[in-house]
């Protein structure tokens, strides 16, 4: 196959992936309360509407608070886990890695039901902190993977050198390991943040009736009919994800973060 054909194939698939989003972006510009394509009487009225209606502002705030706290919690669990497992090969290290990776390998509804029954038993059901902790634990996998990748890239000689010069564990960690890990912690945080923002089933089953997040709000609103405001929220979410991943790609090495080893920055 020639180069042109390959590029065409890739571009066609990307176009298919973007098609629904393009239609939704266009639909969000409808003036009246209708979902027509192409839009009628184009205006940006619904974008303003979103930030005026408290029925949308409250879920938006909930989502942002949950995502920010849950992502922080997942990094706070993943960092010591990654550090502990690094350079260790015992049963404990294997079990910890397995526990850190498991939530992501299973269909999320399983974790969601587990969390729901757990919080019902313990009494946090319906509370925002229950959603935060559940998301934080569920998303541990992401920072765990990025931080482990960062640790793999650290030259052991560098640490040996720091130690020979008299640095204790804490000093070596603070002055050598941590600065090298920060980009990986930031991208792990960003991954977890975006996924928490978009997560539905766990948030719904843990506290869906009292703590409405934006995806829950959208789903509830869908039952009462489709309005351009749903399209507006979708556009903002897609844009926010693209922005965050774009920043990681701009300032980090995205291909390497996702597992390519052969690639170097050009």
């Amino acid at each position: 196959m020639t180069r042109t054909l390959k590029t065409t194939y890739v571009l066609i698939i990307l176009a298919l992936l973007l098609a629904p989003l393009v239609v939704v972006a266009a639909v969000s510009l409808n003036g009246p309360q209708t979902l027509r394509f192409p839009p009628v009487e184009p205006s940006s009225r619904w974008y303003g509407e979103l930030f005026r209606q408290s029925e949308w502002l409250v879920p938006l705030r909930n989502s942002l608070v949950i995502a920010a706290c849950a992502a922080a919690l997942s990094v706070v669990i993943a960092l010591p886990l990654a550090l502990y497992v690094w350079q260790r090969r015992g049963v404990a290290a294997k079990a910890l890695t397995g526990m850190g990776l498991a939530p992501f390998a299973l269909p999320p509804v399983i974790s969601a039901l587990g969390f729901m029954i757990f919080w019902m038993t313990l009494g946090g059901y319906g509370q925002i902190y229950a959603t935060i902790i559940s998301h934080g634990v569920f998303l541990v996998t992401l920072p765990l993977v990025t931080i482990s990748l960062g640790l793999k890239g650290i030259d052991p000689l560098l640490i040996e050198a720091a130690r020979v010069m008299g640095g204790g564990r804490w000093v070596v960690f603070r002055t050598v390991i941590l600065p090298l890990l920060i980009p990986y912690m930031v991208s792990g945080y960003a991954f977890a943040f975006v996924l928490s923002l978009n997560e539905y089933i766990i948030a719904y089953m843990v506290a869906g009736f009292t703590v409405e997040t934006l995806p829950i709000k959208i789903f509830n609103a869908l039952r009462y009919g489709y309005t351009p405001i749903l399209a507006v929220v979708s556009v903002i979410f897609a844009g926010l994800s693209a922005l965050i991943f774009g920043l990681i790609g701009r300032f980090g090495n995205l291909p390497r973060l996702l597992g390519a080893e052969r690639i170097t920055r050009d």
């Binding site: 196959m1 390959k6 590029t7 890739v10 098609a19 629904p20 989003l21 239609v23 939704v24 639909v27 394509f37 669990i77 010591p80 886990l81 502990y84 690094w86 350079q87 404990a92 290290a93 910890l96 526990m99 269909p107 509804v109 399983i110 974790s111 039901l113 587990g114 729901m116 757990f118 902790i133 634990v137 541990v140 040996e160 130690r163 960690f173 923002l197 978009n198 539905y200 089953m205 934006l214 789903f219 869908l222 489709y226 749903l230 929220v233 979410f237 897609a238 994800s241 693209a242 991943f245 774009g246 790609g249 995205l254 291909p255 597992g259 390519a260 080893e261 052969r262 690639i263 170097t264």
Partner: protein, 284 residues
């Protein structure tokens, strides 16, 4: 272990904190769920602790067999399509320059991270009567009247492919990008044509990775909860939808927990198979 430094960089007690957190908030919920799955259903809404197999016995019904058949076949179809389209995509992608790769990965990640509810909404708009491809076909003169293509089995599988495709590419990406380019170069030098090198060298070398990716995408789409409700009809509801329905609307936690345990065993077995398939590649 001679390759280890004289002293590990992290003290042993550091493992206690993540171990405690994951045991409390991940293992404990699973343990409680296991216990609830054999508990007795209390008609008032919750459950009484006990030990009975009643909830598991309900698996032996025609209803449950149908739900399983729908869940499995819909996800199998979506996983097959995703890997079929995603594999060549990943091979072409990994041959591109750093900047192009980064841009395409940003698109894939953004689509992957999108909430299912947004994907369901976008696709149902795209397939709707007023804003969708039905309009386009009508305008092109292919169909006499604009029509909606949702809810339908087609819409559901399209939706599952939409969430599964970026996942398939990202799972295939590490093994594909690690494949030695010299291998393909050698095949080309020896006179193999492009397609011949693709089917004769690239695919056999990555067979394990392809099988692994297929299984992981299968498990991933099996977990879809909102798309069957937004894009399919009620007979297309998957196991995930029924679990939530039982837990929240039918207030039958023991049955929901039993279904969840069953789904977990299926998923664990499949993920185990996937990692075996991935390992086979290393041995080859």
């Amino acid at each position: 272990m001679t390759d280890m430094p004289s002293q590990t960089a992290a003290p042993r007690w550091l493992g206690l904190w993540p171990a405690a957190m994951l045991t409390l908030f991940f293992l404990a919920p699973f343990g409680i769920m296991l216990a609830v799955s054999v508990a007795h259903r209390d008609v008032s809404g919750f459950y009484e602790w006990g030990f009975e197999w009643d909830s598991y016995a309900r698996f032996l019904s025609v209803f449950f067999a149908k739900v399983m058949a729908v869940s499995l076949s819909v996800s199998l179809a979506a996983a097959a399509i995703c890997v079929l389209l995603g594999f060549p995509f990943t091979v072409f992608l990994s041959a591109m320059g750093h900047t192009a790769q980064t841009r395409i990965l940003v698109v894939l990640l953004s689509v992957l991270a999108l909430s299912e509810v947004i994907i369901g909404f976008s696709l149902s708009t795209l397939l709707s009567q007023t804003a969708g491809i039905g309009n386009l076909f009508h305008w092109l003169g292919l169909i006499p009247e604009p029509r909606a293509y949702t809810p339908s089995l087609f819409a559901l599988i399209a939706g599952l492919c939409y969430i599964g495709f970026p996942f398939a590419v990202l799972v295939l990406y590490p093994p594909v990008s690690r494949l030695d380019p010299e291998l393909i170069e050698a095949a080309r030098v020896m006179g193999a044509s492009g397609p011949r090198a693709f089917f004769g060298v690239i695919i056999p070398n990555l067979r394990g990775a392809i099988v692994g990716a297929f299984i992981l995408v299968f498990v991933f789409t099996l977990g879809s909860y909102l798309l069957p409700q937004l894009l399919g009809r009620s007979e297309h509801w998957t196991l995930s939808v029924h679990i939530t329905d039982q837990a929240i609307y039918q207030s039958n936690l023991p049955f929901a927990a039993a279904m969840s345990v069953f789904l977990m065993l299926v998923a664990l077995a499949l993920v185990g198979l996937a990692s075996l398939a991935g390992r086979e590649r290393g041995a080859a």
